[in-house]
Amino acid sequence: MIQVENLHKSFGKIRAVEGVSFTARDGEITGLLGPNGAGKTTTLRMLYTLMRPDAGRVLVDGIDSAADPLAVRKRLGVLPDARGLYKHLSARENIDYFAQLQGVPADAAAQRREALIEVLEMRDFADRHAEGYSQGQRVKTAIARALIHDPKNVLLDEPTNGLDVMATRRMRQFMRDLRAEGRCVLFSSHIMQEVAQLCDRIVVIARGRVVADESPEALRLQTGESNLEEAFVKIIGSGEGLAA
């Protein structure tokens, strides 16, 4: 479970995040929806302790990220916005590197790695060097290495960005599988349909603030719109920076 309380973050004069609070529960998919530049990536970066919040705090499974960032990182599987691989290493070697850094015992890591390669359908390219991977192959490898330590909480920053239709469908199914395993799944997106389809809970962010935090049902009721996309546009104030 991830609890976010009143996060603030500024870069010079730009206030990227101004008071974001929400809770992402285990066994649920929580979607962070907002137009480009709303503060989604900055919020996620504070969650996985890459950045320190100016104010507010983050609790992961009850652990304060400011007090014990290493323990928090152990409990998180992160697919950041930046998902570069080591091009002279194969997918397997890329995954193994992160397994060692996470401190996963070698035999457990090998088992989990092969399971992930199976589920993510990576067998065809798993032993090729990462140089020359397609966008989809890169994302799959990045996800596999992020989940190699079997984390209870999964953070995905725009996981379907740059994927084709089939890969996007598979990615969405994979996220449902993670939920079914009882994990806390938190992902960001600027694609309304994706969020509407997947999420148990939707946190809408605009201009660094949370403007709605509801189930899809409640969102529809609150705005009086039967169409969820219309509801989003109504809440944010404009459809700019969003995609259907």
């Binding site: 996985y48 890459l50 950045m51 320190r52 290493l70 323990a71 990182r73 152990k74 998180l76 992160v78 697919l79 950041p80 916005d81 930046a82 998902r83 570069g84 691989l85 080591y86 091009k87 002279h88 290493l89 070697e93 590197y97 992160f98 060692q100 850094l101 996470q102 401190g103 060097h129 990045a142 290495r145 992020a146």
Partner: protein
């Protein structure tokens, strides 16, 4: 396994698969310097030998005014060339290293017993022309002295009367120390090798990793950043030490290709020398790795880092150039300054001297201390929030 070790092993493995890094660290970096050095010294030495042995060919104006003088010069290895119209222009335009002019009244003065004048035109600002000018001057002086002595004898006086002071020069340079003066640039090549050996790795491990967007996922792992940094610095050091070892070995082997014996010189490029060089260079290896990482961490992109590190590479030239331009006595404090201590120490060893235990200790202690400080600063920068953000 220790996280730093995990990072180190991964960096070594990945970079062993990168042709450019490998060629730079193991071929160009360590072997280019010895190759260049051997070529340069070969050219310099053979030129000096040629100049010393070849007949001295200079234009002579008014050769017919002093046939006896010219005959005497010829016997000393002088080969008079045809006259030139304007001796000043000939020297200025580098048509001739020097011009000898014998005035028309040379014979008259000679017979009268007055000093007979000859003129030597040359340009002292041209260092490469010093040798022929000196040779000509020596030949003329010998002729003058010989004839002066003969005149004294003819008058029944002892030639010793004309030489109240006898200068007996006792050159204390040994063959080894003469070689050392020529080879004082050598320490720079070792430093340069350390720079080049780790350079691509240093860029790749900070600026490169950020540009490839792999730094952010890396930092999401439960490993403190200083441990990651330590692993990366370790990998850089491993590569630059390998470069250094190859370079020192190449010099030890290639030292025999330099015709130093012809100059009566001798180089102390044995295994003991190689070992001492490697030990003296160790603090510098760490310092350079930390510095390169620091500079690369400040750069926004791979190319920017390459530019900055290229500039950084000029810094180690300074002590070499300074010491060769104005040779100063080696002072104890010099062993406390990294770069300078390697320059001074390695030159000392080359010249056949040896370093005291205290000097070695000062060099290593101060070197490692300053390297550790640089490392601490680098760790601070590496820990900053901005470092990981790719865009």
């Amino acid at each position: 396994m220790n996280a730093s070790l995990v990072v180190l092993l991964k960096e070594v493995r990945e970079n062993l698969r990168d042709k450019r890094t490998l060629v730079n660290a193991l071929v160009t970096g360590p072997l280019l310097a010895p190759l260049m050095f051997i070529m340069i010294t070969n050219v310099v030495i053979s030129r000096q030998l040629n100049q010393a042995e070849a007949p001295l060919e200079l234009p002579v104006i008014g050769a017919s005014n002093a046939p006896n003088l010219l005959e005497a010069l010829r016997q000393q290895g002088f080969d008079p060339q045809p006259s030139v119209a304007d001796p000043i222009a000939a020297v200025r335009n580098r048509d001739a290293p020097a011009v000898l002019r014998i005035p028309g009244d040379f014979g008259k003065s000679w017979i009268k017993g007055d000093p007979a004048q000859v003129e030597v035109y040359y340009d002292s600002s041209r260092r490469d022309m010093q040798q022929p000018v000196n040779r000509l001057r020596n030949m003329l002086e010998r002729y003058s002295r010989l004839n002066g002595a003969m005149r004294l004898v003819a008058r029944g006086l002892s030639p010793a009367l004309a030489n109240p002071v006898l200068v007996d020069e006792r050159d204390q340079s040994t063959p080894r120390s003469r070689a050392g003066a020529l080879f004082s640039i050598l320490p720079y090549f070792f430093v340069l090798t350390v720079f080049i050996g780790g350079m691509y790795l240093a860029i790749d491990l900070t600026a490169g990793e950020r540009e490839r967007q792999s730094l952010e996922p890396l930092f999401a792992n439960p490993v403190p950043r200083w441990r990651i940094l330590l692993g990366k610095i370790g990998a850089i050091c491993l590569f630059s030490v390998s470069s250094l070892l190859i370079c020192v070995t190449a010099f030890t082997v290639a030292g025999h290709l330099i015709p130093t014996q012809k100059l009566g010189m001798d180089l102390g490029l044995g295994p003991a020398f190689a070992l001492e060089v490697v030990v003296l260079m160790l603090p510098l290896v760490l310092l350079v790795a930390a510095l390169q990482t620091l500079v690369a961490a400040f750069s926004k992109s791979y190319r920017e880092a390459q530019t900055y590190l290229g500039i950084l590479m000029i810094v180690p030239v300074l002590p070499s150039v300074l010491l060769s331009l104005m040779p100063v006595k080696t002072m104890p404090w010099m062993y406390a300054v990294p770069l300078l201590s390697q320059q001074v120490g390695i030159t000392e060893l080359l010249m056949g001297g040896s370093m005291t235990a205290a000097e070695v200790a000062t060099c290593l202690l101060c070197g490692f201390l300053i390297a550790a400080l640089t490392l601490a600063v680098t760790a601070r920068v590496y820990g900053s929030e901005r470092l990981a953000i790719s865009v």
